[in-house]
Assembly symmetry: none
Homo-oligomer: 129 residues x 2
DNA sequence: TTGATTGCAAAGTGTTTGCAACTAG
DNA sequence: CTAGTTGCAAACACTTTGCAATCAA
């Protein structure tokens, strides 16, 4: 019921080494550049399947676009992104996780997940320009 | 530079008495049913203007659809959203703000802003199904 | 062989935009 | 009067789907 195709392997391989969220379109482009062309429709079909299976996380963006990332079950972390150059630092914090869980419980919510993104201007950009 | 039109008043009035997030399409339909027809384009244009002005909150949903609601709190706050029904609670927390600022500084970032969204299943939905 | 999977192009979303007509101030 | 607004329809961006060709098992 589930076959191993070139397209699927290429997608899985790309996701495996991409820690950040990427849109389906970005993934489609990246695969093409790497000489592993996969049609956009197939990218969508497989990402949706993976998402349903809980193997990738999906994030809705303001632009009405979905972004996908392999599910990192082990260590949860967040991103600190430079507005200007895109430089990204991964930060892990347990106090926030605890706050999120508590807040949710206090309001009667269960199965809580949270997305946090910090944006700023990094050191280099501030001195540089 | 900003005029008071029938359409704008109708929209403002509707938002004023609607506490939950609604999509632009829903708002468009509601206005029509109330005998205050406003074109979809105008609904979008005005909602975007209000959002830019900080008078309504915008929320991106999984379906790639934006939902709007009049801004209740004036202070900075975050959202706790039910994945299933969209029921939303606004939460304010200072500890997180502090954490964000500290973390950013520690990594040499300045002018930091942060976006946080909590997602879960609300009480009603859990008991319901 | 044969049913799952793919690519293509067409169709579907939700949202934005160009433009002529309209209207509040 | 006249610049801000509106409605319409066309344009957009992202995503899904029908279908015939392809390919893993």
């Amino acid at each position: 019921m589930s076959r191993t195709t070139r397209q699927r392997s290429a997608l899985a391989e790309l996701l495996a080494r991409t820690p950040e969220f990427r849109s389906a379109q970005q993934i489609h482009a990246m695969l093409g550049e790497e000489g592993e062309p996969v049609s956009l429709a197939t990218v969508y079909r497989n990402l949706n399947a993976l998402a349903e299976n809980g193997e990738v996380d999906v994030l809705a963006t303001e632009g009405g676009e979905s972004r996908y990332r392999r599910c990192v079950r082990t260590e949860h972390h967040h991103h600190l992104v430079c507005r200007r150059c895109g430089h990204t630092v991964e930060v892990a914090e347990t106090s926030v996780e605890r706050w999120a869980a508590q807040t949710a419980r206090r309001h009667g919510f269960s199965e809580v997940s949270h997305e946090i993104e910090l944006h700023g201007i990094c050191d280099t950009c501030r001195s540089g320009s």
